[in-house]
Symmetry: C2
Subunit: 527 residues, 2 copies
């Protein structure tokens, strides 16, 4: 029987908060014992990745308490309930099925009268068929010419995840001869976003994907209109240049305005939708359905690891628990995501949505106030760029920021130069290794301005290369981490009521039903 309890009612949490001696990283990471620690504090992930947490402020005792916390909070049982089809998103009374888009971890899940795994696979097959037909020239523009660009129109989860995944694999696909067409993205309601993308696009050879689960997202419908206007002005028929990704019940589903429609459903939240048709259509068109399938396979393999009851063999679970320790015991308010990979330049922006929209909550899953902190602020930029920017604060600022590094032994393109006896890839990797040790061990100096206190925790995920499989594994790792943390905090990670009030007030402004401060702001902005 699963019990949903607040974190501060768990006896293991109180043990963790009161009875643990803090770990001094600059000590435990030193000398041969430090080397041992880096060897030992490491867990294999899917697709050859490795989660190394040696530079986190934990020891065997704390890890033991975290494992007991996982058991007391029934984290694995809750995950089982989720993938076996229970209504985990209680606020919206919905199942949570994004894992089912890439594999089946448990029972058959039947909803709306269909087996949902079959439903998601059928959509993938429909997309694959469509993408292959576009690539082969079976589906073309009205002039019988092949499409050469795909433009995704969507916002939030329909933009950040797919865009980050596209950028992550663009150069890999070019280097591996699986690159079919460039993808672009239109998201913002700012009219300059759509205008600029359209100005730079060969419209006659562009295929547009309209992505909106409800079919009513105002930004997306507005940008669709921009695209249709531009196509018409260019003498093109919009219906021959657009496809839709939406739910079966949306107004877009059966419209004749689209070449094809592919379906998602209410059981996949926007921020968890990269492995659904939301990511599937654009990534299959850009890189081919086989690449998208490999991405799903990496995610599925990682999902399986996340079902493991043994905390020290379950990277997402351990990552989640250490994060809770950092947030609720050590009191750190934010986490930086620092991929040493230019291809992951927008991965932090995706994780920012994934984490902050899921776990930025102040009431538990029963709508009751909680008295402990939940999701941290997530931000980040690729290394080594960040080293020449905000790392100053990370090293010497007055707040400690836990760091999530990501690094790969090999580049994607493989082109490199030797300067001062090392390649750029070696320099990149040397920098991330150096940073972990600099942050944890610090350095004393008589001149305090040149001293480093150290004891700044980090973990690193290391892989051979950023490929479709390892990207899928990375994505699933963080999705599962966020899910486990939501379980620990006893919150509903799958709704987002915090976005509603702004929408309601914006409508009032647009219909001029305002008074007081809102009216003055509207006047100042000339609305």
């Amino acid at each position: 029987m699963i019990e949903w309890n607040n974190l501060d009612t768990l006896s293991t949490f109180n043990t963790l908060a009161k009875d643990t001696t803090p770990v001094v990283l600059s000590e435990v990471m030193s000398g041969e014992a430090g080397a041992e620690r880096v060897h030992n504090y490491s867990i294999p992930m899917a697709a050859g990745l490795q989660y190394n947490y040696a530079a986190k402020e934990v020891n065997d005792e704390i890890l033991g308490t975290l494992a007991a916390l996982a058991e007391e909070a029934q984290l694995i049982q809750k995950f089982q309930a989720l993938y076996n089809g229970e209504v985990i998103n209680t606020g919206e009374k919905r199942l949570v099925l994004h894992q089912l888009t890439r594999g089946q971890l448990g029972d058959d899940v039947v909803a709306d009268g269909v087996n949902k795994r079959d439903f998601y696979v059928a959509q993938q097959e429909k997309i694959a068929k469509f993408a292959n037909a576009v690539h082969s020239g079976e589906i073309t523009n009205a002039a019988g010419e092949k499409f050469s660009t795909v433009v995704q129109i969507g916002i939030g989860g329909s933009d950040l995840g797919p865009r980050a995944m596209y950028l992550a694999l663009e150069n890999w696909a070019k280097a591996n001869d699986t690159f079919h067409m460039e993808a672009k993205f239109i998201s913002n309601v700012d009219p300059d976003d759509a205008s600029a993308v359209l100005q730079g696009t060969d419209l006659a050879h562009a295929i547009f994907i309209l992505v909106s689960k409800s079919g009513t997202t105002l930004e997306t419908l507005t940008n669709e209109s921009f695209v249709k206007d531009a196509l018409k002005k260019a003498g093109l028929d919009p219906a021959k240049h657009m496809i839709a990704v939406t739910s079966e019940t949306s107004p877009l589903a059966k419209s004749e305005d689209y070449l094809a429609a592919f379906f998602m459903d209410d059981y996949i939240g926007g921020r968890f939708s990269s492995t659904s048709a939301v990511g599937g259509a654009v990534l299959s068109l850009a890189f081919g359905p086989e690449v998208f399938a490999r991405f799903l396979a990496g995610a599925a393999e990682e999902d399986k690891l996340s079902t493991n009851q043994e905390v020290l063999k379950n990277p997402a679970l351990l990552d989640a628990l250490i994060g809770v320790y950092e947030r609720n015991v050590l009191g750190y308010p934010s986490t930086a995501v620092l991929p040493y990979s230019q291809a992951l330049s927008r991965f932090p922006a995706h994780l920012q949505q994934l984490d902050m929209e899921s776990n930025g909550k102040s009431v538990n899953r029963f709508g009751e106030d909680i008295s402990y902190v939940t999701g941290p602020i997530i931000f980040g930029e690729p290394g080594t760029n960040g080293q020449h920017s905000f790392y100053q604060l990370l090293h010497q600022g007055t707040n400690i920021v836990p760091l999530q590094f990501i690094g790969f032994r090999k580049s994607q393109i493989g082109n490199d130069v030797v300067i001062q006896d090392s390649t750029s890839q070696q320099k990149l990797c040397a920098n991330v290794a150096a940073q972990i040790v600099a942050f944890s061990c610090g350095k004393s100096d008589e001149n305090k301005n040149k001293a480093f206190a150290g004891n700044r925790p980090s973990s690193i995920i290391i892989g051979e290369q950023l490929t479709p499989e390892s990207l899928g594994a990375l994505l699933a790792h963080f999705e599962n981490k966020v899910m486990f943390q939501g379980f620990v905090w006893n919150i509903n990670s799958f709704d987002q009521e915090g976005v509603q009030l702004g929408k309601v007030l914006a409508k009032k402004v647009l219909s001029h039903e305002t008074d007081g401060a809102l009216k003055v702001y509207a006047d100042l902005l000339n609305i």
Copy 2:
């Protein structure tokens, strides 16, 4: 006589910390009094911008104490000392002269035997002449063809600021017929960064700008080598395709490897260098020297406002003081920068460097430990995109994050569509107005999951349009804000010793002089 004292020794700070009654935003922003407040709590900035702080947790009493704090901390006198040429960057024993690149606020500043204002103006004139010659076809590639792309090679301040400024004005320049050539940027030591940019560039018609003050930045030299290899492979002479922006004493300054060299100096920190040759070369080539001059004029006009002793007429000073109140009295650890303008998509990343690298310090300007917090974490993405992402946490999370909105009444391109009776630009502006009120006033609801606590502070900078002038004013506002905050915290905002340890350790890894944990990480990363 200027005295440099720690914040916690100032009597006004102790008044602020102990004797002020917190302002309840949901009360003061309500009804007609709220409307009054929005009218009154507003200061004109340069280039038609306006700084509105009505939704900040201040009242006349707190503002009075902040003004007294500004006086006790001698903030304006310290700024005067800075622009009159005192050694404000004490750690590195350097003047701080970035304001002098766009105007002269005080005395003539002579250093290295030259009048520095004359020196910066001379560099601007050299750049303008060069850019005009490139645009007119006087300076061409070896085949006598015009250059059509400019690629900046630089990292940190040589990348983030210029890139953000370029993106901010790209569509404006296209709409105003001042667009001369596309700019691209190579920054990361990740070899895939340079490879990907070069793959997508028409090398025969590209001109490269190598930007490194010292001429020794490893990332930049490495990427220069990438570029030279690619040019040679394409049968082109690198010396005919490259210019340098560097200091006069750098090895790049008189090299025959470059078409031309333009100079900056040690008195301009990387993160403050967008108005120097570092931003000047790429922006003048992309948009023409006249546009760069207009950008400088906006910054100069804003700088002048920043010299005003009256806090309520000095937007950068007031912004700085409110930020200190939020950080050191209210205890907020981070600030989000939220431009409602897709053109400002990378402006938050630039401010992240500017603020966090300047003020992420734990010792005062005399190298003594301080016992109060300094610079916050800065992050942000454009609205409305962020509304569909991390705003959930901002509205309903357990930590309060002060917000810096930016909005413009007009778009840059001017192309728009009417959907549901409003244009996209109106929707964009309605959203930012709505968010300010949603964050400050909140909304009660019996269902606590749908309730908004409100009392989440924000300010907004409103302008007519994002133009070269208003962009320059925006940039200078934040540069000056960061400077004033550094003065309040009694830290040196102009050095960055926190970046050194990582560099030293990375060198050790590359020369295989490691042991312990560092060696194991190096092994794991195959170096």
